[in-house]
Amino acid sequence: MTTLSQAPSRTLTRLTGNTWIRFAARRAGRLVLSLWALVTAAFLMIHLIPGDPVRAALGPTAAASLVAARRADLGLDDPLPVQYVHYLRDVLSGDLGTSMTFNLPTSQVIGDRLPATLQLALTAFAVAVVIAVPTGVLMGVLTRGGRARRIELGFTGTSVALGTIPDFLLGVLLVYVFGVSLGWLPVAGHTGPASYVLPVLSLAIGPAAVLARLLRVQMVTVIEADYMRTARAKRLPAAVLYLRHALPNALTATITVGGLLLSAMIAGTVLVENVFAWQGLGDTIVHSILAKDYPLVQGIVLVYGVGVLLVNVMVDVAVALLDPHSTTIREY
């Protein structure tokens, strides 16, 4: 780093440009590797099931001829490597097989259900961020330099408690309070804006609490930094001081955790959809596991996995953008 910062200026830019390309290449490489691992895992999943998955799916009373026919249909009689190659080829061309319960292409079933899940997860994440960022910043400013000890304790206590309650239990509590006791909001289905409130809140509150707590700590630390004193010496108004100078630095450190929370939220939809009878992927995967509809399970696992990997990539890019130093740090 030292050598970098003291290098003559022309080399500097070239290095900087290179660093970005190298960062992108490395990141893309890792993504491809992870995708490959994911697809392989999804393929192996079915073959790791003890016994005959087709027999298990059709039930012990199914005729042997039917089982044999279905096995042949699914290509399960080919040698494993051949099946693997076929599977890779099919997945790459967007063919995820046929759902046994729906008798439809798996990709079609997923296409029908995915939007509901995406809406739920993304809305919840947006809500979590909208709650967490102002709260964290405000708390950081209020409690900077050890001020307002009591507020800090109260806030930390509350946010730890909220962050500890798992989303589906929170969902049950919300259903009870707002649906059953107060009767304000619908507790099931996907019917209109009001039906979003409770599922979104049950997904968002825990992560929002975690994020806000982390952001407060980061803000308090950043506010003590030397460059904040420089900014104060420029006599900037408080809003500029905290939002333009402090917040980006505080966010850099929270973004990684934010990404983990978002991927956890994607998985969290499985439970929350089941609490609120929300017809999305999560609802579908549970039913298909219970119905032993393996092609569909396989497909949904792939979709969830890809979602998580994309979130991870976005996090790395966001960190690189917010903290221009991070790409070079990894390099040198």
Binding site: I49, L173, L236, V270, V301, V308, T328
Partner: protein, 679 residues
């Protein structure tokens, strides 16, 4: 946190062993968590034998009843008592969670310690697999494995175990790597100890405690995960029931019978918390690193701290800064302490004044107080504080902000940390003009480039678009000076501006400050512990000791006509070219008194070889002589005693002779603060 937040890994192996587990019960949180955990475990053991039969009793007369004194949580659709069912379910819920955790620990240990046992390539493969697996949320992994192991109790235990294993493996890898790097393991290796034996004798005992703590926390998460799987219908099946299953069944009838869903929900949360909190408490106790929040103490300030007001000013156009009787008071637990005590000075247009003194003499605090940059919890009092004729003690902070923002520039000590790492250098400069100069974005950016050019930053246009980390230290310090020149500066305060730079760069920066001063008639106030630097670039020098000005004199007289013993000591401690480089530098014996324990009388007396009775009893006043020089010393005009510790004036080259010899450190700083001053 179960599945929606990954548990943070606690990785530092504990220094002590054992003690933490009992001692943790003496902390309030630890005691509460321990009690809760104990209750949950006892319940898990005694509930089934006590109430199993009762909880299974079908009572057709009491179907789906609400909570009552006979049935605290009501009854289910077969008339069974739900409260008892929740209690009985404790065993299965907790037991299965512990079982799943056991699977996770064993699998995690096998994967995590593989590096010690198997070959390097296999170890790397395992690490890569673990790496990919931990990127996925636990619930997703649990569903994946639930498909493989099948729906049901056994399948769920294995699924949750396998889903938790990668995180545990990662933790183990980190811990093992820490232990393996230690000397005694290397020694054992060289001594030919086998791999398995190495693992069991040297590695495992050293990582056991953090693993157990993490497993305790993990058990809480496993409990929540298990409840989730059972709730989804993928866990416990048939006639047996755990909390998750009760919850799932309760949810269906939540409108008629909310208690049926709430009671098991509460049980899950309480039990999960018990494991989590207890684990966290132990982790904190034995000092494992985790999400523990760093203590947030220290200085923080708001812009425009309003000093208390008293006088207004008649402006003299030539006076840039006028400070009289400035005092800073810190109210601590032992009453008020005054790190700055009655400091007064004036700065004229274009003048270069230096303030010297050891670390802790109050010089930085003085200028921060003048600039209004001290934490507002410190009290700043003064008889007078005017900048360019404007009284800073009264009036609106907004007007002050505009004036100070455009005319009062500050350069701080460490250029590495004084720029905001997330913003481009140019935009950090431009915002001064945007805010205080009323320029639009484009004009402000153009001015920033112009100012960067003025401080001799090459390729200023391109540089303006770069981030601070792409600048070298000296370049950053120059950019900082350029930032001060965005408005129309009348004063540049530089607080140890060169301490963090190397010698050649130091000189450039000092020369730049000096040329700015000359070209624009800007007054400069240079704070330094280095009497040589101050002697080189200043017209006048203020010497501070223990929060007071003890001497003021022209810089040219520093070497020959200093009257205060402390000033003379500072000068004497400067090595000159003739002094033997192999001899240690002369130092001022003793140390600066702490502001909370100032001696009666002259604060320098304990270190002063001229001190007499009067010095120890009465503090000398700061007297001004006919030429405007000031000194606070009873013996100011006495000849220094022969052979005193520090009087070696005869050997000292005047500081002006050091012009080309700016030093990174001065001997004066050595005795009081060997670590150097970092305000």
């Amino acid at each position: 946190m179960a599945m929606n937040t990954p548990a943070p890994a606690r990785t530092r192996p504990a220094p002590r062993r054992g003690g933490g587990w009992l001692a943790v019960l003496r902390t309030p949180v630890g005691a509460a968590a321990g009690l809760l955990l104990g209750a949950v475990l006892v319940l898990a053991v005694i509930a089934p034998p006590l109430w199993h039969d009762q909880a299974a009793t079908i009572n057709t007369g009491d179907l789906l009843k609400g909570a009552s004194s006979a049935h605290w949580a009501g009854t289910d659709n077969l008339g069974r008592d739900l409260f008892l069912r929740v209690l009985v379910a404790t065993r299965l819920s907790v037991g299965l969670a512990l079982l799943a955790m056991l699977v996770a620990v064993v699998a995690g240990l096998l994967l995590g310690t593989a590096a010690v046992v198997v070959g390097r390539r296999a170890a790397r493969l395992i690490a890569a697999v673990v790496d990919i697996a931990v990127a996925f949320p636990g619930l997703l992994l649990a569903l994946f494995f639930a498909v493989i192991f099948g729906v049901g109790t056994t399948g769920a235990v294995l699924a949750i175990g396998c889903a938790t294993a990668p995180g545990f493996a990662r933790l183990t890898q980190t811990l093992v790597a820490g232990v393996v790097a230690r000397d005694y393991v290397a020694a054992a290796r060289i001594a030919g100890v086998g791999r398995i034996r190495l693992l069991t004798r040297h590695v495992l005992p050293n990582i056991a405690e953090p693993l157990v703590v993490n497993a305790t926390i993990g058990a809480g998460s496993a409990l929540l995960s298990f409840a989730a799987l059972s709730f989804l219908g993928l866990g416990v099946q048939g006639a047996s029931y755990d909390w998750g299953r009760l919850l799932g069944e309760g949810l269906d009838g939540i409108y008629v019978h909310p208690a049926a869903a709430l009671a098991p929900g509460v049980a899950v949360i309480v039990a999960g918390l018990a494991f989590n909190l207890f684990g966290e408490a132990v982790a904190k106790r034995i000092g494992l690193t985790g999400t523990g929040q760093p203590p947030s103490r220290g200085r923080a300030a708001r812009p425009g701290a309003a000093p208390t007001a008293r006088t207004s000013a008649e402006a003299s156009t030539d006076v840039v800064l006028d400070v009289r009787d400035l005092t800073v008071t810190v109210t601590g637990p032992d009453g008020p302490v005054r790190p700055v005590r009655g400091v007064g000075f004036r700065l004229l247009r274009g003048e270069a004044v230096g303030i010297v003194g050891e670390s802790g003499s109050g010089k930085s605090m003085t200028v921060l107080a003048v600039a209004g940059l001290l934490d507002e919890r410190l009290q700043v009092d003064a008889d007078r504080l005017t900048f360019l004729g404007t009284d800073l003690l009264s009036g609106s902070p907004r007007d002050h902000a505009r004036l100070l923002g455009s005319s009062f520039a500050m350069v701080f000590q460490d250029p590495m940390t004084s720029f905001n790492p997330a913003l481009r250098v140019g935009s950090q400069l431009a915002e001064v003009s945007r805010r205080h100069g009323g320029l639009n974005r484009r004009d402000a950016a153009a001015r920033a480039v112009d100012r960067l050019r003025a401080v001799r930053i090459p390729a200023a246009e391109r540089r303006a678009y770069q981030y601070p980390h792409e600048f070298s230290g000296g370049m950053r310090q120059r950019a900082m000076i350029g930032m001060g020149m965005m408005g129309s500066p009348a004063l540049i305060v530089a607080d140890e501006p060169t301490t963090a730079l190397d010698v050649t760069v130091q000189r450039q920066v000092l020369r730049l400050i000096d040329s700015v001063r000359r070209s624009a008639a800007v007054a400069t106030l240079l704070i330094s512990h280095d009497v040589t630097v101050v002697g080189q670039v200043c017209d006048r020098v203020l010497v501070m000791y223990a929060g007071r000005i003890v001497e003021e004199l022209p810089a040219s007289e520093l070497a020959t006509k200093a009257r205060h013993p402390y000033t003379r000591a500072l000068v004497a401690a400067v090595p000159d070219m003739r002094s033997d480089p192999h001899r240690p530098l002369p130092v001022i014996p003793g140390r600066l008194p702490d502001p909370s324990e100032l001696p009666v009388g002259c604060a320098f007396a304990p270190r002063c070889s001229l001190a007499d009775d009067r010095c120890h009893r009465h503090e000398p006043p700061l007297e001004t002589d006919a030429d405007g020089r000031r000194v606070a010393c009873w013996q100011a005009d006495a000849e220094p005693r022969r052979g005193s510790d520090f009087d070696s004036r005869a050997d000292v080259t005047p500081p002006s002779a050091h012009k080309t010899d700016a030093r990174t450190h001065s001997a004066a700083d050595a005795p009081a603060a060997p670590t150097g001053e970092r305000p």
